[in-house]
Symmetry: C2
Subunit: 219 residues, 2 copies
């Protein structure tokens, strides 16, 4: 998939700003959620996952500065919606924290891969570089799978939790699309039309369903 035209520079800046603030906030929340871990080893792994977000944040900010944007200004438009998402999905225990990381990172990475295809080479490579490490994804998946194995009730609770994560995420994504027309246009135009957006949402939803099934959760 190659874009017919180069995306508008302000749309690229919007996208990178959104991803950057997403990383900064993911760092903050994961670092906090690590306190919920049942032992030091697990706590350290979630802390490491958080630390990676900061490395990615730096890469995005460096590129924003290179594009002549003031990184902080580019992030401000996304502060409210990203905070709203996290405030509405504050994990109550370790399993919710881990499921949030597993579900959220998975969808964010799928979305990033799709959007990367709409960008010029330089930004495409950057966006693909800041995808999450599959090593941590496997850690989260194994933890959830084994916890559900020994407590079937947990599967129900975490399945409901994951639906809430997706619902809140979609709700904030729609808000962003409404508030940032250039960014929305990048995606709509890149995917040719609104039917393309529907198809994108379908692909994201199916990949999410596959991830859920893989750890024993239902959609």
């Amino acid at each position: 998939m190659t874009p017919a035209n180069s995306p508008a520079p302000e749309a690229v800046v919007d996208l990178l700003g959104m991803l950057a603030y997403g990383e900064l906030l993911a760092f903050d929340r994961m670092a906090h959620d690590a306190r919920l871990a049942p032992d030091l080893r697990r706590r350290a792994v979630l802390s490491e996952m958080a630390a990676v977000e900061i490395t990615n944040y730096r890469r995005l900010v460096a590129r924003l500065a290179e594009l002549g944007a003031e990184p902080e200004e580019t992030m401000v438009p996304f502060v409210d919606s990203l905070h709203a998402y996290h405030d509405q999905t504050e994990p109550r225990d370790w399993w919710e924290a881990l499921t949030k990381a597993y579900v959220g990172d998975g969808i964010a990475d799928d979305f990033s891969r799709e959007v990367a295809a709409l960008l010029g080479e330089r930004d495409r490579e950057l966006v693909l570089q800041v995808l999450h490490d599959s090593h941590y994804n496997r850690f989260a998946a194994e933890e959830i799978r084994s916890a559900i194995g020994s407590d079937p009730k947990l599967a129900n609770r975490l399945s409901m939790w994951a639906r809430r994560l997706v619902g809140e995420g979609l709700s904030q994504a729609q808000r962003v699309a409404g508030e940032r027309p250039a960014l929305a246009a990048l995606i709509v135009t890149g995917l040719d039309d609104r039917a393309g957006v529907q198809a994108l949402l379908k692909r994201l939803t199916q990949a999410h369903a596959t991830r859920m099934t893989a750890v024993g959760l239902n959609n």
Copy 2:
């Protein structure tokens, strides 16, 4: 300074376990304190400082495993005293958070350099590797210096705050020395005797005073 005898293996494990838990908790607290930052740029820098602690944590844990120790067990003895230090020194604003990072990292690094000299080559190199990056130290120093320049009252408040940090740190260090005789012996024996420990404390205190003066705080 070269140790006359190799330090006792259990003392080295104690030291590395203490440093490892110190890093993990510093990550947790700095990540949290980053929320106090007045803007996103500064918040990101403290978040980055936090993230470095996790990298160092991993190095220490890898070495502990290599030494045949169960990393988690080696950290447990230091949980209470390190938590007590942080609970007693919870910053109320950005300047207290930054001063805590500046003062705490400085003393921790000086201590690590001194203790590194008492270790075998492999562990000495590791302990020197996990020192804090001077880049962040300069950032904190410049921030404090410039804030004090525009608000002289802040200098008084932060000077008092730094005294409290040192007081709480010393108090918990004494507790650890009492509870972990092998670790205390490593330092006392390494420095030849108790007079050596007094001299060490004097060096740490003088270096701290120099750092305070450098940013416009008094001791």
